[in-house]
Amino acid sequence: MDFDKELDARGLSCPLPIVKTKKSLNDMTAGQVLKVVATDSGSIKDMQAFANQTGNPLISSETQGAEYVFYLRKG
């Protein structure tokens, strides 16, 4: 999937993946796509909750081995 920016959140625990995702989105324009790679298993539910509450749709969420890859579109 195409993306405009990537955030490496590997090795980070709650709440850092979410807080850093928000910070990354701050620098982007509406419609752009952010890719986030995390290793915190809690981020699967947290990223969906973040998307629901902030109006930045989660367009893809998948597990690749021990990593979780998310694509968010800036709303």
Binding site: G11, L12, S13, C14, P15, L16, I18, V19, T21, K22, K23, T39, D40, F50, Q53, T54, G55
Partner: protein, 156 residues
């Protein structure tokens, strides 16, 4: 969409109890909440420039996971608190959990407002110069003004 608000009263100054206010405040700010944290009594220690005195004690804390079982009379020995704090900080670092300083900075960066209880400052003769700069000083009434308009209000 109207901005949601969250208020927290932080009353504890130990390492373990320092985390919930900063984690919740930084997360809520990331979710678009307007957040205020009111620090009172021992919670004021979390606003010091130097957080190295924020410690954890195994004493009277039977739920704390220990690498080896430790009788209470051993937990009382001098240096045990410092040792437990060092071990906890190492664990925090190795698991990728943010330091208190980092979480506090993230809160400030996200415009979380910190209010220090003036009464506590007077009670314990704290020096305001020991606290970080981005703090307002106020009392219960200051807190209520914001807390009365919140969606989430927590006492920690």
């Amino acid at each position: 969409m109207e901005t949601k608000r969250m208020a927290i009263i932080a009353t504890k100054g130990t390492l373990d109890m320092a985390y919930p206010p900063f984690i919740l405040a930084s997360t809520a700010a990331a979710l678009g909440y307007e957040v205020q944290v009111f620090f009172t009594f021992y919670g004021l220690q979390l606003l010091r420039k130097d957080l190295s005195d924020v410690k954890i004690s195994p004493l009277a804390n039977p739920a704390m996971p220990m690498p080896v079982p430790m009788p209470v009379f051993v937990q009382m020995l001098p240096g045990m608190e410092t040792m437990a704090t060092m071990m906890m900080k190492n664990k925090i670092k190795s698991k990728g959990v943010a330091s208190l300083e980092e979480l506090r900075d993230l809160c400030l960066e996200a415009d979380v407002k910190f209010i220090a209880c003036q009464m506590t400052v007077d009670l314990f003769d704290f020096d305001k110069d020991d606290f970080i700069g981005n703090v307002e000083f106020g009392g219960a009434s200051t807190f209520m003004e914001f807390a009365g308009k919140t969606d989430i209000c927590l006492f920690i």
